[in-house]
């Protein structure tokens, strides 16, 4: 009989009781799935992107299903930092789950302001910095694909908070290692890999793009092998932890990310397919480790052979 494996992981000073969180934008602001998912069972919850000011987002249609995936161009609508703190933070007083708030801005100063606003509330445990939204025209993806701009954002956020900061990397770069290293050098506590992949679908009858924004981000099982490769590459050059995400539907998917080099993982699109996915992934990782006699999930991180 094997001992219960140790599922705990650390993202900077953030302690997670298991390595599974949810991907920003797929789980709302917290309450939406609370009827269906015991939030306190998650390693952490990551809420939808928050900016300094409220934002209206894109027109509809905002999503489109594709083979083994979906496109989205929601455009980061949200209540702004003050609105989030007022409307949603009280909800989390009833939960113990660590809270990661995803943040974004249109300018470097915006990133600084939203960081300041979310640095104050004690209930916010960490910030995930979206430098790679493919669907916002101003700034958005640019900060994720130009390494100098990228550094300026990470520096700005780092200067405004001592909470753990996780930089969410864009997948559509020539060399993910440069960005992962830049994040580490600028004092980030972790990187998350990957955001959705810029993509497009066109209706051949109307000849119009399927999304009002014309292009969007591809997520779901279709992108998992891309994400695995990017995690594996980044893991070879950085010492900070990586949160792996992209098409995780099962514990086997999550284990593949961990073996590739991810310390933690996030379930995204699968929440739409089956809200119980994240909990199944937690249970599945634990029983797999136990069956293999692996004492701690941390022992598996980056153990890819060859």
């Amino acid at each position: 009989m094997n001992k219960q494996p140790d599922m705990r992981v650390k993202i900077g000073s953030l302690e997670m009781k298991n390595p599974v969180t949810v991907a920003s934008g797929t789980f709302g602001y917290g309450p939406e799935y609370a009827d269906l998912v015991d939030l306190d069972r998650l390693g952490a919850i990551t809420v939808k992107g928050i900016s300094a000011e409220p934002h209206i987002g894109n027109n509809t249609p905002r999503t489109f299903e594709t083979a083994s995936g979906m496109l989205n161009a929601i455009g980061l609508p949200g209540p702004g930092a003050a609105g989030f703190c007022e409307k949603y933070l009280p909800f989390f007083e009833n939960y113990k789950v660590p809270l990661i708030v995803n943040i974004w801005g249109k300018t470097v100063e915006d990133y600084g302001r939203v960081t300041e606003l979310l640095d104050a509330p004690a209930r916010v445990d960490a910030l995930e910095v979206n430098v790679s939204c493919p669907n916002v025209k101003e700034g958005g993806a640019l900060y994720g694909t130009d390494v100098d701009l990228f550094r300026s954002v990470v520096d700005e956020v780092r200067s405004k908070t001592d909470k753990p900061i996780i930089i969410k990397l864009a997948p559509n770069v020539a060399d993910i290692k440069r960005f992962a290293l830049a994040a580490e050098e600028c004092g980030a506590d972790a990187v998350s890999i990957m955001n959705s992949y810029p993509a497009m679908a066109i209706n051949i009858e109307t000849r119009k793009p399927e999304l009002a924004n014309r292009t969007g981000g591809l997520s779901g099982p279709a992108i998992k092998p891309i994400a695995i490769k990017l995690v594996w590459e980044a893991a070879q050059v950085v010492n900070i932890p990586i949160i792996g995400m992209g098409g995780i539907y099962s514990s086997e998917d999550a284990l593949e990310f961990i073996i590739a080099g991810a310390t933690a993982v996030a379930v995204g699109t699968a929440n739409f397919t089956d809200p119980s996915t994240a909990l199944r992934v937690i249970d599945g990782i634990e029983s797999w480790l136990a069956a293999k006699g692996i004492a701690a999930v941390d022992d598996l991180v980056g153990t890819v052979r060859g």
Binding site: G25, T26, E32, D35, T60, T63, I74, P77, T273, D274
Partner: protein
């Protein structure tokens, strides 16, 4: 809101292209309010990441049923669902129809199988008024006897005149409304957008209350992803409202029509 592994009790052709799917759903069925919907994970639909939303047609303590027609990849795959098969369901979801205002005569307005979303409301309303059902052709007019059995006065229109009066549902509604006294009528509608807008415009013009069940492409179904949003009027302009959570039923006065 629950997630339930339901079992298919019955799956058959209801009429023409329309099918009825009845599921054993003791965790969801008894909670369903008129106008709410369920989010169904279609079995064996490989490569699809999204569920499909369906208005609840009927529901009781043990089961619920939906009416559907194959209109896309998802509903086409549904035709292969077999009795006894497990079906993963989320529900009941959304904000449905309110009770009719006191002293108001309730009026139901449906386009095609939109009346599936009105059946529970038709059963729940204490007063039975008039139900206007419109469709392209006779084959698209469903459930007339069922609504009549509940005590509703059903008026049918078809585009081609193959059943009832020829014309749009509003062609039958307008003269009827003109005969009514002011303020005493309340409308409950489900159908295509053009019909809903036409019904809503009439209600606003005449100072009547109309409740419209809106249909938009949906992803999560629980209010998290912000896919299915429509514009809802505010004092200063408009805001996005979620069809899956704030709706699908909205007061016509709230809706800012884009199209």
């Amino acid at each position: 809101m629950n997630q339930e592994k339901t079992t298919v009790l019955e799956h058959r052709i209801f009429q023409g292209e329309y099918r009825l799917l009845k599921l054993s759903a003791p965790a969801i069925g008894p909670l369903v309010q008129p106008g709410q919907f369920v989010h169904l994970k279609i079995p064996r639909l490989k490569n699809a990441v999204l569920r499909r939303p369906f208005s609840v047609f009927k529901a009781d303590a043990e089961s619920l049923s939906i009416l559907y027609k194959a209109v896309g990849q998802g509903t086409e795959a549904m035709r292969d669902i077999a009795p006894g098969e497990p079906v993963d369901l989320l529900g009941p979801l959304g904000t449905g129809f309110p009770m009719v205002g006191q002293d108001n005569i309730p009026v139901l307005i449906a386009g095609g199988y939109g009346n599936a979303a009105l059946y529970l409301q038709a059963a729940a309303l204490p007063v039975k008024g008039v139900a206007f059902f419109g469709g392209r052709t006779a084959a698209d007019i469903l459930c007339v006897e069922e609504f009549e059995a509940l005590g509703w006065d059903v008026r049918v229109t078809t585009d081609d005149g193959s059943l009832g009066t020829q014309g749009l549902v509003t062609d039958a509604l307008d003269p009827w409304l003109a005969e009514q006294g002011a303020g005493a009528v309340e409308l409950f509608a489900c159908g295509p957008n053009a019909m809903l807008k036409a019904v809503g415009d009439r209600a606003i013009e005449k100072g009547l209350t109309a409740w419209l069940s809106m249909d938009r492409n949906m992803a999560c179904g629980v209010g998290a992803c912000l896919t299915c949003v429509i514009k809802r009027k505010t004092e200063t302009g408009w805001e996005w409202a979620r069809c899956c959570k704030d709706g699908p039923v909205f007061n016509a006065e709230e809706i800012l029509w884009d199209e």
